[in-house]
């Protein structure tokens, strides 16, 4: 018995946040809880919606139809040779994953106050579970995209579809990074959530979701490899994400330079986000 006690793990609780490495290790220890939280998010979503998974497809589709009518039919925005609906969906689906997860994650700590103020577990799992749970919804909508594209438009993306893994990884990185930052900030500043929902709307129009990136060169006279474009893609990784998805789904050369710069920014944001989250975690229960 004495032997056992000595072997047992000793935890020191003090005002210091502790080592980042130990924190990352605790994420591994709690990996099953991550699984349960993801599973809960999925189950709750299914239980709460009458149509269940039907909603997952219906919501982006209805939005896409409205946007297609306004920007494709009325405003006649160019769509780089593809049907406008497919063009729009190829950018709108990854965008709605990003926007949906970020807006949920920014309220994930304040919304789970009962949990955060009563039980200890690495709080990073709360926004983390949302990033993973949202993925299932995203995959369902992607499959739906394939169905529309092959059955209605008779177009099936070729082997180039395999490249989708790259923008998907970038999408995960940037979504996790922004989610961690906003979740931690929203405990300290209550208006972060409102600011986020407002900014997300604005940012959608700034990303090439409803307009093609090539429009920048035709309307503003920028060449495809202008440094301004690269700077923008570096500052705003969603440009690389959307261009990447669009090329993988609709064909064309992958925008490696834009995605590469996006990876750089997203990784920096993710690392700083995890560090910031870890640093502020001890005060979270007091702030909620």
């Amino acid at each position: 018995m004495q032997q056992q006690v000595q072997q047992k793990q000793q935890v020191i609780i003090s005002s210091e946040a502790g080592q980042l490495a130990a924190y990352l290790h605790s994420l591994v220890v709690f990996r099953e809880l991550l699984f349960f939280l993801v599973w809960k998010n999925l189950k709750v979503q299914v239980a709460q919606t009458v149509l269940g998974f039907g909603w997952l497809v219906l919501r982006p589709l209805l939005n896409a139809l409205v946007l297609t009518f306004i920007f494709g039919r009325l405003a006649r925005l160019p769509s780089e040779g593809s049907p406008y609906l497919l063009f729009l969906l190829s950018g709108y689906l990854p965008w709605s994953y990003f926007a949906g997860v970020v807006s949920k994650a920014s309220g994930s700590l304040t919304g789970n106050a009962a949990l955060v103020t009563k039980v200890y577990f690495p709080r990073l799992l709360l926004p983390g579970a949302l990033v993973l749970a949202g993925l299932s919804e995203f995959v369902v909508t992607l499959v739906f995209f394939m169905l529309v594209s092959t059955l209605y438009y008779g177009y099936f993306p070729g082997l180039g579809l395999l490249w989708i893994a790259v923008p998907l990884l970038l999408l995960l990185l940037i979504t996790a990074a922004i989610s961690f930052w906003l979740a931690a900030l929203s405990v300290k500043f209550r208006d972060v959530r409102h600011a986020a929902s407002y900014l997300l709307q604005m940012l959608m129009f700034l990303a090439p979701v409803i307009w093609p990136l090539s429009l920048l060169s035709t309307r503003l006279g920028l060449t495809a490899d202008a440094w301004v474009l690269k700077l923008l893609a570096g500052l705003y990784p969603m440009i690389g994400v959307i261009e990447g998805f669009r090329r993988a789904l609709l064909g064309g050369p992958m925008p490696w330079d834009l995605m590469g710069l996006g990876f750089l920014t997203a990784s920096l944001l993710l690392i700083s986000g995890v560090i910031y989250f870890h640093r502020s975690e001890q005060q979270m229960a007091d702030g909620i």
Binding site: M1, Q2, V5, Q6, K8, Q9, Q10, V11, I12, I13, S14, S15, A17, E32, L33, F35, F36, L37, K40, K43, V44, A47, Q48, N112, A114, L115, V116, T117, K118, V119, Y120, F121, L185, K188, F189, Y276, Q282, Q283, A285, D286
Partner: protein, 427 residues
Amino acid sequence: MTHNVLEVRSVSKCFRIKAPQAKDETLITQIIRSSAKALQSVWRDETDAEQEKTLHWALRDVNLVVTEGEIVSVIGHNGSGKSTLLKILSRITAPTKGQVSVRGRLASLLEVGTGFHPDLSGRDNVFLNAAILGMRREEILRRFDAIVDFSGVGAFIDTPVKHYSSGMKVRLGFAVAAHLDPDILIIDEVLAVGDAAFQQRCLSCIEDVGRSGRTVLYVSHHLPSVARLSRRTVLLDQGRVLFDGSTLAAIRQYEERVGGFNTRRQWDSPNSPGDDCVRLLAVEVTSNGLPVDGPVDVRHPVEIHLRYEVMRGGLPILPSLHLHDLGGTLVLSSLDTHPEWHAQPRSAGVYQTTVVFPGNLFNEGSFQAGIAISTMEPYRNHLYVHNAVGFSIFDSITGDSTRGQFRGEVNGYLRPQLTWNTSRAGG
């Protein structure tokens, strides 16, 4: 040799309470100032300029060492720092100063059923709740049937929790926690809800945990359960450890602190308790006819005086008194059965009734008296004032109380003068 599983070393915890904002600022200056401040405070937690915030120390220099297998209770008023201490131990919040070291797996039950989601079934919630409390999947699978059995939820296990009664939710939550199997279990106010039978089951479950060599930290206002579960109790007051030692001594100190109850109550006639038949005007505690301030010597009598007005004559009036301890347990009830007044119709008017408790009747402790006035034939209760007045009893231990020369604990509510006869039987 026993090991320290929990060491709390001079832990203090400070909360900031924000001062109200100054009014004479425009929105724009407010935005500019707070954005500069916001940028600053994103990375830094404290700035010297933040003088406008006031500080509140919830814990001050708390030291506590718990060895393996001990059951320790923590008691104290609301706001004494109990919950803050438990939150620090369970890693929910960090101490401002000091350090805690915990050896082994610690599970806290700060609120039963934490994180239950109303839309999920009982089964799903058991898995989720157990995972949140730190159980592994295989452990949950192995103990699932035992958990459902203990909870008594039975056939409803696949019903969404939103359709459960509050009692069912509590039972399911406690059942999960009872099967956690931690080295150290922290329990806070579990027994505040649930019916008597379930409370009993929880208590024996906590006792089992303690008997199996695990360490339990129990926080409660329910003093009888504290007394039953633990031998050692820590009394917290205003964030400091006021007492750390035997449970009975801790409870006595706690009662004396809480015992700032009324020894005299008076009511103005429109607000006085009662109805159109009889109204209570005043209640007072005296000892030997003198007003009471502070604890009463165990050898002295205690008198409780009632003043009441009978508004409608012709009814037999029955005053009664119901004495509770601070944990709410009924110690005794007594009725006025004096032959001159009992069961006799009374004319309208103001009456004074006194009930005398002789000296050497109560044990040390605090008591609260509830006052009722009823009429008989047919029986009807006209008023009841719960805990109308209270008093404390102490023993100065001079040798002539019923404890004699004995210096140890004498337990129980009463300590009357009884006759003990001893004679040599042979030899």
